[in-house]
C-alpha cells in the first residue's frame, strides 16, 4: 500500500503546545464577546479560561483575558485573527512562564461542617490571600486569589474539610513595573 494521504492538509508533526494568556481590548458593544469566542470555536482553538469586564467606561472599553494552549503557529494565528476583528483595539500575548506578568484567579469556596473542620480549611487556604466573606455556625465562605493550579490543588485538599461548592473566575493578567502594554 502506498503511503497516500488526504489532499486536505493532514496533521503533520504537532509542535510543542504552550499555554498563553491572550489579552484583548475591545469596544464594549453588543455581541463582541460572541465574536471573540466564536473565532476560537470556529477555528478550533482552545479556551481554558475566560475573564471579561468593562475597564474604561468613558472610552467604552472592555478587557478580555483568555487562557489558551496551542503551538506557536496557532498562537500567532489567534493573535492575527483577533486583530482583524473590527471592535478589537489591541491584542497582548503573554506566556504563562513570563516572570514579568502577574496572573491571578479568584475562587469563592463554601465549606460546610463544624468549627474544627472550618479551621482546618482556613489554615489550608492561608497561603492564598484567604478572606472570610461569610461565617455561620455550620458554614464558611472563603475567597482566595491564586494561580489556577494552586486553586486546583486547594479545592482537592478542601474536599475532606467540607468543601461543598466552588465558584471560580478565569485568569486576569497585569504586567509588572510601570510599563503598560501599548
Amino acid at each position: 500500500m502506498s503511503k497516500s494521504k488526504s489532499a486536505y492538509s493532514i496533521p503533520g508533526k504537532i509542535g510543542k503546545m504552550d499555554t498563553h494568556i491572550i489579552v484583548v481590548w475591545v469596544d464594549n458593544e453588543a455581541g463582541v464577546l460572541a465574536r471573540v469566542v466564536g473565532l476560537f470555536s470556529g477555528r478550533g482553538y482552545n479556551i481554558e479560561s475566560l475573564a471579561v469586564a468593562e475597564v474604561d467606561q468613558k472610552r467604552n472599553l472592555s478587557r478580555i483575558t483568555i487562557v489558551t494552549t496551542g503551538t506557536p503557529q496557532v498562537i500567532e494565528q489567534i493573535k492575527l485573527q483577533l486583530k482583524k476583528l473590527v471592535p478589537v483595539h489591541k491584542v497582548a500575548d503573554f506566556k504563562r512562564e513570563d516572570k514579568n506578568v502577574i496572573f491571578k484567579e479568584m475562587a469563592l469556596l463554601k465549606i460546610v461542617g463544624n468549627s474544627s473542620k472550618a479551621n482546618k480549611a482556613l489554615k489550608a487556604c492561608k497561603k492564598f490571600n484567604a478572606v472570610i466573606l461569610d461565617k455561620t455556625k455550620k458554614s464558611l465562605v472563603i475567597q482566595v486569589t491564586a494561580l489556577r493550579r494552586d486553586i486546583d490543588k486547594l479545592s482537592k485538599n478542601l474536599k475532606s474539610y467540607g468543601l461543598v461548592s466552588a465558584s471560580r473566575t478565569g485568569a486576569v493578567a497585569m504586567t509588572r513595573g510601570s510599563d503598560t502594554f501599548k
Binding site: S4, S6, A7, I10, G42
Partner: protein, 588 residues
C-alpha cells in the same frame, strides 16, 4: 431645524452617497418601508431576483467584474438565511458585498416573532463584520462604516440588520464625506528593507517563479499592469491560482498555466522544484499546495498579502511582505530600475537552464486530451467557445465542478475581472446568478456562464431574472448527466461506486429555456458545435445552451489526493500505477 428623514430614506441617502446605483434584492415584511422608498431614488436601480442566494451571487458577480462593492437587500428570517451561502462564498473569495437585511421590530426581537432569526448571530462567522442597528441615529454611521469595512484591506462581505421600526423612525442626515485617512485595519505597513530583500532574492535566484492569486485582481487593474511589467522585466515564469486568472495574459510565453490540483504539469513541477517562490496575493490554499510537508521543499518563499493572518497560516515563509499588491509591486519595480537597470540581461543567462527545464515539462502538453469525432469532448467545447469568443471582451462565470476546471484550463484570460468563479467555498449554483450581476455591471458585453447541468439547476430560477431585465447572459451547460467531479472522485477512490452522482431525470434544457421565455439551443455532435455556438452568440437574448458532452470524461491533469506537486496524474492511463489508497480516501 434640519430636515428629518426616515430610516428607510437614510438607507438610500447613504447608498447614493456611496455611489451605489444597483442593488439586488427580494422584498418581504421586514423590509417593506425600504422598498416603499425605492421609488423616490431614481439613481438606484433595483433588480428583483428569484431567491436571496441569487441576490448574493449577483452582487458578487457585479463586484468582481466592476471592482465596486455589490449591494444586496433581503428581508428578515428566511431572506437572511437564504443569503448566508453567498455571504460565506464572498468571505472565502474576498469579494466586497454589503448586505442589508430587514429585522423584526426591536420590541419583538427575542420573542420568536414571525420571520425572526438571529441574523447577526448566524452571519457573524461569514462576514467581516455585521451590525444590528438599534437606534436610527446610528444608521447612517453604520452604513458608511459598513462600506468602508467591506472595501478596505482584504475585501469581504458585511451585513447590516435593520429592524422594521428603525426604518420608520426619523432623524437628521448629514452628507457623507469620504475620509482620506482609512481605518486602522488597513495593513499597508511594508518597509523598504523588505523590498530590498526581495530584489536581492530575485537577483540571486536561478529557479524563480511567480505564484499569483486573487489578491492581484482585488488590488485593482493597476496591480495587473504592474505585475505584467515586473514579470516581463524579470523574465521569470509565472503561474496563477484559479482566482488570479486574467491578472497576467494567458497567451504570454512566460505564463506556464494554472497551478494546483488541476493545474498544468509545468506549473506544478516548477512550483515543486523552484528555489524562489514569490507569492503575490495568494493564500497557499490546500487545493494549491497538495501534500503540505512536501510542498516546494527547496525554495525560499516570499509572501505578499494584505492580510497579515494569511502569512504563515498554512506554509511558513521566509519573507512576508504585508501590503497592497500594487504598492508592493510598484516599490519593487522602482527598486529594480534604480539598483539593477540591467536586470533582464544579466538574469537571462542565469535562469536559462530553468526555462529549458520548464520547456521540457511543457512538452508533455498536460492539458491534452483524446478528441472524438462522435461525441463532444467537454475540453473541446470550451476550446471552441474560447476560439469563437476571444475577439470579444468576454466575461466568464462558472459553476463548480469538472466544467469549472476545464474552463480554467482551456479558456484563456488576458484581462483581470473577466473571470468569476467560486473557488474557496466551491458553491454549485454560483455561476448563473453571478452572470446576472456581471451583465448588469456590463450591459453591452458578452457574459457566459460555463456551467454543469447539476450545478446550474441549483439556481436555475434566476433565468427568470435575466429575462425580466433583458440581460442576454449565455448559459453554456456542459451536460454529462453526472455530477462529474463527484463521479470522478468515486471512480478514483471508491471503486467506481457511482453512488447518487447520476441525475436520472434531467429537464429538457431547450424546453426549459422556452418556458422561461428565453432561447434554448442544443448541440450533440462535434460537427454542429461551432454553428450552434455562433447561433448562441448571435442571439441578443438570454440563452440556455445544452451542450451534450462525453459522459465519462475525467478532468486531467490532476494531483491525486495526498500527493505532492511532482506526482501528477496526466491522463486516464496514468491512474493505474498511482492508485489512491488508504488515507487518501478521506479527502473531499
Amino acid at each position: 431645524m434640519s430636515k428629518l428623514y426616515s430610516g428607510a430614506e437614510i438607507v438610500f441617502k447613504c447608498l447614493e452617497d456611496q455611489n451605489v446605483n444597483v442593488i439586488f434584492g427580494y422584498p418581504g415584511g421586514a423590509v417593506l418601508p425600504i422598498y416603499d422608498e425605492l421609488k423616490n431614488f431614481s439613481s438606484i436601480k433595483h433588480f428583483l431576483v428569484r431567491h436571496e442566494q441569487g441576490a448574493g451571487h449577483a452582487a458578487e458577480g457585479y463586484a468582481r467584474s466592476s471592482g465596486k462593492p455589490g449591494v444586496a437587500l433581503v428581508t428578515s428570517g428566511p431572506g437572511a438565511t437564504n443569503i448566508v451561502t453567498a455571504l460565506t462564498d464572498a468571505y472565502m473569495d474576498s469579494v466586497p458585498i454589503v448586505c442589508i437585511s430587514g429585522q423584526v421590530p426591536t420590541h419583538l426581537i427575542g420573542t420568536d416573532a414571525f420571520q425572526e432569526c438571529d441574523t447577526t448571530g448566524i452571519t457573524r462567522p461569514c462576514t467581516k463584520h455585521n451590525w444590528l442597528v438599534k437606534d436610527v441615529k446610528d444608521l447612517a454611521k453604520v452604513i458608511h462604516r459598513a462600506f468602508e469595512v467591506a472595501t478596505t484591506g482584504r475585501p469581504g462581505p458585511v451585513l447590516i440588520d435593520i429592524p422594521k421600526d428603525i426604518q420608520f423612525q426619523k432623524t437628521t442626515y448629514n452628507k457623507y464625506k469620504k475620509q482620506k485617512k482609512l481605518n486602522g485595519k488597513v495593513q499597508n505597513h511594508f518597509k523598504q528593507p523588505e523590498i530590498d530583500k526581495l530584489v536581492e532574492l530575485m537577483n540571486n535566484s536561478s529557479k524563480p517563479i511567480f505564484y499569483t492569486g486573487g489578491g492581484v485582481i482585488n488590488s485593482g487593474p493597476k496591480a495587473s499592469d504592474l505585475l505584467r511589467e515586473l514579470v516581463s522585466a524579470t523574465g521569470f515564469p509565472i503561474t496563477s491560482t484559479l482566482q488570479g486568472l486574467g491578472a497576467f495574459p494567458a497567451d504570454d510565453n512566460q505564463f506556464i498555466g494554472m497551478l494546483g490540483m488541476h493545474g498544468t504539469y509545468e506549473a506544478n513541477n516548477a512550483m515543486h522544484d523552484c528555489d524562489l517562490m514569490i507569492n503575490v496575493g495568494a493564500r497557499f490554499d490546500d487545493r494549491i499546495t497538495g501534500k503540505l510537508d512536501e510542498f516546494s521543499p527547496k525554495s525560499k518563499k516570499v509572501h505578499i498579502d494584505i492580510d497579515p493572518s494569511s502569512i504563515n497560516k498554512n506554509v511558513k515563509v521566509d519573507l512576508p511582505i504585508v501590503g497592497d499588491v500594487s504598492d508592493v509591486l510598484s516599490s519593487t519595480l522602482k527598486m529594480i530600475k534604480k539598483t539593477k537597470p540591467n536586470f533582464t540581461k544579466s538574469n537571462k543567462q542565469k535562469i536559462s537552464k530553468w526555462w529549458e527545464k520548464i520547456a521540457e515539462w511543457r512538452s508533455i502538453n498536460s492539458l491534452n486530451y483524446e478528441n472524438s469525432t462522435e461525441t463532444i469532448k467537454p475540453q473541446y467545447a470550451v476550446q471552441r467557445l474560447y476560439e469563437l469568443t476571444k475577439d470579444k471582451d468576454t466575461y466568464i462565470t462558472t459553476e463548480v465542478g469538472q466544467h469549472q476546471m476545464w474552463a480554467a484550463q482551456h479558456y484563456k484570460f488576458n484581462k483581470p475581472n473577466r473571470w468569476m468563479t467560486s473557488g474557496g467555498l466551491g458553491t454549485m449554483g454560483y455561476g448563473l446568478p453571478a452572470a446576472v450581476g456581471v451583465q448588469v455591471a456590463h450591459p453591452n458585453k458578452l457574459v457566459i456562464d460555463i456551467a454543469g447541468e447539476a450545478s446550474v439547476l441549483m439556481t436555475m430560477q434566476e433565468m427568470s431574472t435575466a429575462v425580466q431585465y433583458s440581460l442576454p447572459i449565455k448559459i453554456f451547460i456542459l451536460n454529462n448527466e453526472y455530477m462529474g467531479m463527484v463521479r470522478q472522485w468515486q471512480e478514483l477512490l471508491h471503486d467506481k461506486n457511482y453512488s447518487e452522482s447520476y441525475t436520472a431525470a434531467l429537464p429538457d434544457f431547450v424546453k426549459l429555456a422556452e418556458a422561461y421565455g428565453c432561447v434554448g439551443i442544443r448541440a450533440t455532435t462535434p460537427e454542429e458545435l461551432d454553428d450552434k455556438i455562433i447561433e448562441m452568440l448571435n442571439t441578443d437574448r438570454p440563452v440556455i445552451f445544452d451542450c451534450r458532452v462525453d459522459k465519462v470524461e475525467n478532468c486531467f491533469p490532476m494531483i491525486p489526493s495526498g500527493k505532492p506537486h511532482n506526482e501528477m496524474l496526466l491522463g486516464p492511463n496514468d491512474q493505474k500505477e498511482k492508485k489512491i489508497t488508504g488515507k487518501g480516501k478521506t479527502l473531499v
